[in-house]
Amino acid sequence: MLQDSVRPASLGRQTLEDGSFKDLHGMTLPNSFNVAWEGVMLNKLRSFLTTLGIIIGVAAVIIMLAVSAGAEAEIEDQISGLGANLIMVTPFRSFGGVRGAGRGFGGGGPGGITTFTYDEVLFLSQNLNNIAGVSLEQSTTQNVKGGASTLTGVSIVGVTADFLEVRDYEIGQGRFFTHAENDATQRVAVLGAGIAEDLFDDAGPIGQQVRIGSSRFTVIGVMAEQGIVGATDNDGRIYIPASVAFKKFGGSGFGGNRVRMILVKAESGEVMDSVMEQIASLLAGRRQIDPSEPNFGVRTQQDIVDARASTTAAFRSLLAWVAGVSLVVGGIGIMNIMLVSVTERTREIGLRQALGARPRDVQRQFLLEAVMLSLVGGLAGLFIGVAGSIAFGALGGMRTELVPLSLPLAFGASAAVGIFFGYYPATQAAQLDPIEALRRE
């Protein structure tokens, strides 16, 4: 007998005694995967082009998130580098001046922004309670001559005697200047470590004379070496009393008496709020304006970090939109190609149905195919995104930080896209009538 000769003993007829169909197996998942994968590989170029949208979308999102996270980390480093318990008093609309505080030029600024006067700085330092110090940082650029060398374009920063305290900086050799020296407009200078080395090599700079612009200064100290923080070379600056700075360089770079930012350091974290209130009421009182409508801002580092965070959050939500749009576009591409595929393979679908594929088997085959397309795209995009982020960081001179959450998110999103946009074509395929489908050429 034919059947017996080809039928292994374990097979047996699949007819059930009671005529029930319940225990009939459908398609197993591994089988569905195989069939779906065959579908993907059927037309490799087309599959690749289809997934390109997803690849680009996912890669772009990961890279952009890494770049924005890198920029954010850079900003936070700079801000926290300013020191602890620091309060910044700024004219309104000069918020961006925070970053440039070290090198900002006085000179009023554009758009009629109000600035502070040196008198106001002194007023605050005399009248505030619970403070560790008050300073300002007014910069100009001058040529400096000392020893046998001349340096051009050195950043000269006018500060108060509280500067070291306010910024948590350390002196390396000698000493910083005193309030008395500042009040008496003594021409003394404290050199950044790099400047000291450039001008005097290893010879002791303390007590030496330097010429800044056209004025002679006596070197009384050298700052401890700091290195480069953010974009600022702190070792390449010279600190002089603010009173001298306004007097000597007022016309050339400091913009007369105009102060762009006042830095106040509170004694401790607990008194921060009280100090901020004092600043607000003292300044408003002196300016004779309504304290509820001040023309200046009092902020902490935390405020600035928060403000940056909200900017970053806005940027991120923009990115999320871009990501969403690119994934939707990629998904539409997948849906399009799946619809084409269902049309092209109508006869195959009919055949599979005739051979026993249930509607749900057909649906699963095409749904899995769509999900595989989008997942392969997501995975490729993920690798390209990670590699791109690292490459940007290494070659582009741009700081990048991979956002760990973006990886599973990108992967999950591409899977979701596959399911969402694969569902309709898969359902279309499942609903085909086998007779019609087999008749199709």
Binding site: T15, L24, H25, N31, E348, G356, R358, P359
Partner: protein, 238 residues
């Protein structure tokens, strides 16, 4: 008591409703016993194709009873029909319907994908498919793609595929319609051999010559079976 593979009673199939209703089958009766080789003939529009689709569980009758191999399949839903097709029916189509990207053996294995054969190891399933290809004389063509095979060879792959799930009924729709005489003869020889070994075969054809190779010819005309004749009757009357 006779052992019927197909037992169709008062089957009607109506397309459309009211004045435009088309009655493709009109209370048709048909019985096929186990081990029979039956040819179904009829001009186009006779209801022959409709009958074949219903026998093949690709479609359902409007009314009437259809017992296939002891199971009432008259009122099954799509999923159940798919399962019946998979277990009980081996289809052979006029245009072979092989998947072009799969090897001969993988094409033969295709129906196993949708049933309990999945419990078999891949090795066992391959073995069975190879045996069947051997049986139809293609033991040396296991890994050929359909495009690398002649029409007759492709149809033999299709027959092996029809046998893979050990069906109660082989349903062939114009199996020699696309083939030259020599290939047709080869295919018919395979059917005769299967029949000799106990298979039940229903073949739809419009070729008198091929039809009369069957044990019995059923003529469908205007939605009914007319004057079923046995081969013996025909030979006697001739």
């Amino acid at each position: 008591m006779s052992d019927l593979v197909i037992d169709i009673t008062k089957m009607t199939k109506t397309y459309g409703e009211g004045d435009i209703a088309v009655h493709a089958l009109k209370e048709l009766d048909l019985q096929v016993e186990r081990g029979e080789f039956v040819a179904i003939m009829g001009p186009s529009g006779s209801g022959k194709s409709t009958l074949m689709n219903i026998i093949g569980c690709l479609d359902r009758a409007t009314s009437g009873l259809y017992i296939l191999d002891g199971e009432d399949v008259s009122r099954l839903i799509r999923d159940q029909l798919a399962s019946v097709r998979n277990r009980k029916i081996g289809f052979v189509f006029q245009s072979y319907n092989l998947l072009p990207r799969l090897s001969a053996r993988k094409n033969v294995m295709l129906p196993m994908m949708y049933n309990g054969f999945q419990n078999w190891s891949e090795e066992q399933r391959r073995e069975r498919a190879s045996e069947l290809l051997n049986l139809v004389g293609l033991g040396d063509r296991l890994h050929h793609l359909p495009t690398e095979l002649s029409g007759g060879q492709q149809q033999r792959v299709a027959i092996a595929r029809a046998l893979i799930n050990d069906p109660s009924l082989i349903l062939a729709d114009e199996p020699t319609g696309n083939l030259d005489t020599r290939s047709s003869t080869e295919i018919m020889e395979i059917f005769h051999s299967l029949h000799a070994q106990g298979a039940t075969i229903v073949m739809v054809t419009h070729e008198q010559e091929r039809a009369h190779e069957a044990q019995r010819v059923v003529n469908v005309l205007d939605g009914r079976v007319v004057a079923p004749q046995s081969r013996i009757d025909r030979l006697v009357s001739a």
